[in-house]
Amino acid sequence: MHSWRIGVGAVLLGLITVMAIAAPLLAPFDPMAISGPPLLPPDASYLLGTDMLGRDVLSGMIHGARVSLIVGLVSALCSAGIGITVGAIAGYFGGAIDRALVRFTEFFQVIPSFMFVILLVAILTPSLLSITLAISVVIWPPVARLVRSEFLTLKTREFVEAARSLGLSHGSVIVREILPNAMPPVLAVGSLMVATAILTEASLSFLGLADPNMTSWGYMIGSARPVFRHAWWLSVFPGLLLFLTVLSITLLSEGLGDKSNPSLRGQAGH
């Protein structure tokens, strides 16, 4: 019943990914170069118009997909790495380790995370690396909390105790017995992290904190703010693409979440 979400999300995201990979082939112009008169409304040769400097908007949008997807994917992977490690150790070992890690996670969850990202990026000077790093540092807590709670319930399951009584080490119990069973909901939340990271990157570059060597959607919208009342195409089209990207990922994540829920519910017995 919910598989249409996965289908629609996957197709949409697939198209955007192809666009990002094949950007130099697809884009009609160099996105950073002046290729026409400034502030041209959409017409036949500049399909989505040009910006204040005369750069082609469509080409910028096609290339901008690269930054969004790279930052989204890499930050989500890093944050999943941090979150799974912290959550698994806290949930499996419990006790003082757990309490310390929970405090640590809570700290990162309650701090005004976007302000922290702004601070980090501003101080480190904006670049693809500093942006990805800063986003990874703030978005992992939900993953850690989820993994921890999955581990807390799964570790008391009898199959985990059975594995221990068969003589498996803590490491292989965590990695081979518990983690695979915790993955479906983690996958759903982890894919939502991609969306969060993409939105955060766009907001940062909207505020001007963007890698100066690459075009990004947020930056296109942000830099067009002084003229956006007259040149609506400068903010509407890149925003639309950003919206569709995030929507496709959210659809995928929801579809995955619905798929993972029944089996877990059924076995937890609630």
Binding site: R103, F107, Q109, V110, I111, P112, S113, F114, M115, F116, V117, I118, L119, L120, A122, I123, L124, T125, A195, L199, A202, S203, F206, L207, G208, L209, G218, I221, G222, R225, F228, R229, W232, S235, V236, G239, L242, F243, V246, L247, T250, L251, E254
Partner: protein
């Protein structure tokens, strides 16, 4: 008595968080390339040796690192957030002036998002699987995926530039008003920023309210309530509602920090005179001391909000803090 315990349990944790934030700030300054003194001076002081010297003295920058950290924390403890060398004023004073505007914006947005979102989420859960559920859930998903700054700009284009019904920026009109007219004027200006900021959180609470209610509706005590002869409406009002509100309140507490981040975007789009807009301006001018101060003050607001949610959860759920 439980609330006194709650406060006593909260206080050491809150202080711990604030000390950690203070240390974080302290090390962030040292993360920046270049001399900390000129970083704190917003990189303008480089030309003015007197400022740099002043900063060096007040932050004890000639002392060992741990003493510097201690000095920094002691200053924070007395609410001395230093001076904005750009604006030539105390950071604490600048921020203090801006807090009311941000509180007005964020609390209005959060309250609206929670009430409307949760109610719609509960409605979707009651009608799970029907067209109502589909419409509500789909709308929430669209809101969830919409970038805040983009929707802000679109709303300005549609509702102020084209339709001309709402003011696009600021907190008051060009002609100063007084009394009731001033309140109305502020409310008029509040509509667009609040709509923009609330949209994302609205989506969050629809989803949360829905999933919490679906979960509670499946619990055994709901069946017992039906077996007592309660109508579906009574079951919902007397037994389901309070139970499904608990995760909503908990989430609200966790989101205050995020909400302040959202305020940076919304306030800079709508030129709303709060600390978010201040953070944006400080960012543009590389006034690091001011940004650090805003980060610290925001953290205090978050910590206070956590106390409020903790008390709220305790007043709903008798189990918390007892068993």
């Amino acid at each position: 008595m439980r609330f006194v315990y709650a406060f006593a349990a909260w206080l050491p944790r809150a202080l711990l968080v604030l000390v950690a934030i203070g240390l974080l700030n302290f090390f962030l300054i040292r993360l920046a390339p270049g001399d900390p003194a000129s970083v704190l001076a917003g990189e303008t002081g480089a030309s003015d040796a007197r400022y740099i010297e002043e900063i060096r003295k007040s932050y004890g920058l000639d002392q060992p690192l741990w003493l510097q950290a201690a000095t920094y924390l002691r200053n924070l403890a007395t609410f001395d957030l230093g001076v904005s060398y750009r604006m030539q004023r105390d950071v604490a004073d600048i921020i203090g002036e801006r807090i009311p505007a941000t509180l007005l914006l964020t609390s209005t947005a959060l309250v609206l998002a929670i009430i409307i979102g949760t109610l719609l989420g509960i409605q979707a859960a009651r009608r799970a699987g029907t067209w109502q559920d589909t419409v509500i859930s789909a709308f929430a998903m669209l809101c969830y995926a919409t970038p805040v700054f983009w929707v802000g700009l679109l709303l300005v284009l549609l509702l102020s530039v084209h339709a001309g019904i709402l003011p696009p920026f600021g907190m008051s009109g060009l002609i100063p008003k007084s009394g009731f007219a001033a309140v109305l004027d502020a409310l008029h200006h509040l509509v667009l920023p609040v709509m923009t900021l609330a949209l994302f959180y609205f989506a969050v609470y629809v989803r949360l309210g829905r999933s919490a209610t679906v979960e509670v509706l499946g619990r055994d005590f709901v069946r017992s309530a039906r077996a007592k002869g309660l109508s579906e409406r009574q079951v919902l009002r007397r037994h389901v509602l309070r139970n499904s509100v608990i995760p909503v309140v908990t989430m609200a507490g966790l989101q205050v920090g995020q909400l302040l981040g959202g305020a940076v975007i919304v306030e800079s789009v709508f030129a709303w005179p709060g600390i978010g807009r201040l953070a944006f301006d400080a960012l543009m001018q590389r006034d690091y001391n001011l940004i650090l101060g805003i980060f610290f003050v925001s953290s205090i607001m978050v910590v206070l909000a956590n106390l409020i949610t903790d008390l709220a959860v305790r007043s709903i759920d008798p189990r918390v803090g007892r068993s």
